[in-house]
Each structure stands twice: as structure tokens, then as C-alpha cells.
Symmetry: C2
Subunit: 192 residues, 2 copies
């Protein structure tokens, strides 16, 4: 079986994240990112308007998928069943490129205050997207707010475990995020 090969967009994201780790976010230019990814600068600009957007694009897609999965859960679904539907929708959109990116992104974030702030905004945005989608389903506040945080934790924890595992197993992300949600649900019962 042929090993999975990333496309230009995936190579650009990985090159950027590696360069951010090596030399910092500010010091990294679009020219350097394109060169490292083995593509031209115009290929970069076909995929991303600028360096910043390269980090934001994935986050916006993720928030949209989480919200869509929650919106389309069956009418009788409980808040956490709706969260599970959102996690499943978003998880199924992530593949090997996202798995390989995990540890590299973690290294880049550890090395840069600027990327820590961006990563924090990502967590807050994912939780807010899920909370908003639950409120649209009629889930009352603060239940929706708490469920949104729980969904965010489930996504982050499931993704961390998946991306730190052996990529050659080829297993999907969804079982990881759903297992994390189950653990958090049990924790929620223990708390209250």
C-alpha cells in the first residue's frame, strides 16, 4: 500500500508550523514557507491570503463542522448527544495530514507566546461555536455554555491522543473524541 502523500495545501501548513518552531512566527516569511513546502509563492497565495490565515483557516472549518453536526442532530437528542454528533462530523473531516500536524503544532505553540495566544483563541472559538449551536437548539444557558466547554475539551483531548499515536495504524479520529466525551460525561456526573 502506498504511503499517504500530502497535497500542496497540507505541505504548506506543515512547512509553516515547522518554520514557526525553528525561527518564530514573526521571523517566518511566505517565501520561506513556499520554499520549504516545495511550491511557488503563487501556489501559497492560491491557498491562503497571508501567513496568518494559514492558521485561522483550519479553525474556522472546524467550528463550522462542529456547529453543523450539532444543528443536524435528531430533534430529541440531549445536549451531549448533539455534541457527540458535532464531534463526529468534525472528526470525520480530519485525515492523515491533520494527524501528522498535531505534534508539530504542539512544538510550535510551546515555542511561541504569539502562537499560544492563537491556540487559546482557537479553544475559546470552538467552545463558543458549540455553545451557540446548542442555544439555537433551545438548550438553556448555562447548560449550553458548560456543554460547549465539555465538547471543546473532548475534541482537544481526543485529537491530542490520536495525533500522538502511531499514524501507521490508520485509525480514525472520531473514536478518540467520542471516548474523551464519554470520560468527560462521567467526570461531570462525579462533579455534581
Amino acid at each position: 500500500m502506498a504511503r499517504w502523500e500530502p497535497g500542496a495545501r497540507e505541505r504548506l501548513v506543515m512547512a509553516a508550523v515547522d518554520l514557526f518552531t525553528e525561527q518564530g512566527y514573526d521571523a517566518t516569511t511566505v517565501t520561506q514557507i513556499a520554499e520549504r513546502a516545495g511550491v511557488t509563492k503563487s501556489t501559497f497565495f492560491r491557498h491562503f491570503p497571508d501567513k496568518r490565515e494559514l492558521l485561522v483557516a483550519g479553525q474556522e472549518t472546524l467550528s463550522r463542522l462542529l456547529a453543523e453536526g450539532i444543528a443536524e442532530a435528531p430533534p430529541g437528542a440531549s445536549p451531549l448527544e448533539a455534541i457527540a454528533a458535532g464531534l463526529e462530523r468534525a472528526s470525520n473531516a480530519l485525515g492523515p495530514a491533520n494527524r501528522e500536524l498535531g505534534p508539530r503544532l504542539k512544538a510550535a505553540v510551546a515555542a511561541s507566546t504569539e502562537l499560544q495566544e492563537r491556540d487559546a483563541l482557537k479553544s475559546v472559538s470552538l467552545a463558543a461555536a458549540m455553545t451557540t449551536a446548542l442555544i439555537a437548539r433551545g438548550v438553556p444557558d448555562p447548560t449550553a455554555a458548560l456543554a460547549g466547554e465539555l465538547g471543546m475539551l473532548a475534541f482537544k483531548r481526543g485529537y491530542a491522543e490520536w495525533s500522538e499515536g502511531d499514524p501507521d495504524t490508520g485509525d480514525d479520529l472520531a473514536p478518540y473524541t467520542l471516548a474523551a466525551l464519554k470520560d468527560l460525561r462521567a467526570a461531570s456526573a462525579a462533579l455534581s
Copy 2:
């Protein structure tokens, strides 16, 4: 009764936040902040090493107080009782200057992507400080992680309600954050 008067440090923070709203974080200089606050530049530097630290200082103090309150809760306290002790410790350290700051900080954050990232990092840091303090008490993961998020939500929601209320009532922050924690605990029971 004399109206409460802010000191130089409080005036510097408020001047900075207002200037960030009016003209953006990047465009605001230490000279402008000092001028608006009616103090000299050297007074600014007696309180803060730079413009950035002016925003970080409060967050670090808050994280420390939350963690101390959790650490010093009675040995038999449940995770949420320990969180309540942390919220009480931190809330009691905030006074009229912090209350007046609330709506102004909200306006500044709404106006600036950079401050949104900083504000997100603040939420993530507060939750992490509480989670770490609970783990040190022997609370297992992911219960500690979830309780940390719950404490962060309680602090943010209680603070928002307090700072949007009438400052002339002179009421303390603690009843607001503790009431928010109670609501979130009920939400947690409803979820699981």
C-alpha cells in the same frame, strides 16, 4: 461618604484600556497612557515594565489567588468546594477599580483581534491554574480538567454580571462568582 478614588496603577490600567478601544493596541504608546492617566512616564514604569505587562499582570495575580484558594481548601473538600474556595479568594481581591474596568475592557476586546487573543489566553490560563491546583490535591483527570473549566466559566460569568451592575451598590464580587458556580453545578447535573 466619599466616592472611591482610583490610585495611579488603576488609573493607568483604565487609561490604557480606553486608549486601546479608541485607537487600537498597537497604536497606543506608554507616553499616551501616562498622559491620559495624569501621571509621568516614570510612574508608568514604576508599575509596569511595558504596555503588554499591564494586561498580563492582573491575569497572573488572579491565577495565583485561584490556585492558593484551592490549595488551602480543607482536606475533605470536594473538587467544586475547592473551586469555590479559589473563587472566593480571588473575588475578595477585586474591588471598585476592577468593577469599573469590566465594561471598558469588554469594549476594548470587542474592538481588537489582538486583545481577543489575549483575553482567550486569559480564560485558558485561569482554567489551567485551577486544573493544576486540583490535580495537586489528588483530583483525577479529566475531573480536574472539567472542574477547572467550570471554575473559569463561574469566574467570567460572575465578574461580567458584577461589573455590568450598578457600582454604587458597593456589593462584593464573591456572591456573584459563587452564584454562577452554583448554576453551573446544576447544569453539570442536568448534562450527565
